[in-house]
């Protein structure tokens, strides 16, 4: 199955307002993807309307959020159901610093319904680090029934390697997100304890604009989805 498990809706401050539930699902469909996850910064609040739009288009979904730990590391929490993802929201809310958004600078942080009509906006800035360490974020994702994928692990900003120097040996993550296959070799070279065959690797778009959503290039098998998320297909 062609997948893209990392993209942002217009709820994320840095994403374009064109990233509406229906636009995302229809673009994913046009691109030929089979399964997607939308992962807004520190929020699951857009997922309900996206799941309705996805049901309309017939595209499969995982339900996600991109958490930012106190070390400013980005980690994806990907859940097999909307309910499980939404159950994480109070945990996030308790750990938000409560800095007000400045829409002129960061964007509107729009909440839309399944018809892409505005129903509200998030007033607290979402592009913040939670008062939870990376290992606490991974533990929380697990305790709410999700899988933790370390996001864009070799990026120059907000990646585990940038913030923490290297991927901690004892961190119980479920997968590593890279930008291209050659990044896997770089990680293995610098992390001899990471076994390539027993690691789940993901290549996602991290799209903030419609055009950047992945082309049908990255494949995940039914078995791998089942192993990680159970019977979601």
């Amino acid at each position: 199955m062609f997948y893209d498990f990392h993209m942002h809706s217009c709820l994320s401050p840095c994403a374009e307002n064109e990233m509406t539930p229906n636009n995302i699902c229809n673009m994913a469909l046009i691109k030929g993807l089979d399964i997607i996850a939308v992962t807004d910064h520190n929020s699951t609040r857009q997922l309900r309307s996206i799941s309705k739009a996805a049901a309309e288009t017939g595209i499969k979904m995982l339900y996600g959020a991109e958490l930012e730990s106190s070390e400013e590391v980005h980690v994806l929490g990907l859940f097999p159901s909307l309910e499980k993802a939404e159950a994480l929201q109070p945990w996030i809310d308790e750990r938000m610093p409560g800095i007000p958004n400045r829409p002129d600078f960061f964007g509107d942080q729009l909440l839309l319904d399944e018809n892409d009509e505005p129903v509200g906006k998030e007033d607290r800035l979402l592009l913040v680090s939670l008062s939870a360490s990376l290992s606490e974020c991974v533990d929380a994702i697990h305790s709410f029934g999700g899988r933790a994928i370390l996001a864009h692990v070799l990026d120059r900003a907000n990646s585990v390697t940038q913030q923490l120097g290297f991927i901690p040996m004892d961190l119980p993550y479920d997968g590593l997100e890279i930008k291209s296959p050659d990044q896997m070799q770089r990680i293995i070279k610098t992390h001899p304890w990471i076994r390539p065959d027993s690691t789940h690797w993901f290549i996602d778009s991290d799209a903030h604009r419609l055009v950047d959503i992945s082309e049908p290039e990255n494949i995940i098998t039914h078995d791998e989805i089942k192993e990680l998320w159970g019977d979601v297909l």
């Binding site: 360490s133 990376l134 923490l164």
Partner: protein, 110 residues
């Protein structure tokens, strides 16, 4: 100046590595991005940071820092303190911001 003398002069809290306090401090380095510190830090520097992840201790060992100074009471986890003790890395807590901590070192001639 040794780590012991620094502690005597400042009164900063020493949380680990008390058997390595005679290590000399020749310079200091400030930074919280561990990738950056791994690339730029030099041996015998005192490292001032608010980063409290376990990897801090690994970076301190790798760069052969003379001590790690945690600024602003950044809430050090117990397992990080235990790791510093195990690795023999003096771990200090200044209780003041990074800049104020660095100024203190300058005042003391580092």
């Amino acid at each position: 100046m040794t780590v012991r003398q620094l502690i005597e002069e400042t009164g900063w809290n020493c949380l680990a590595g008390s058997d390595r306090l005679d290590t000399e401090i020749v310079d200091a380095y400030c930074g919280d991005l561990l990738s950056w510190v791994m690339g730029k830090g030099q041996p015998d520097q005192a490292w001032i940071t608010v980063q409290v992840h376990m990897n801090v201790i690994a970076v301190a060992v790798l760069r052969e820092f003379s001590c790690v100074i945690i600024a602003e009471n950044a809430n050090l986890p117990e397992d990080v303190i235990a790791k510093a003790e195990e690795e023999g890395i003096p771990l200090l807590e200044s209780g003041i911001p990074v800049y104020a901590s660095a100024k203190k070192l300058v005042e003391l001639g580092i």
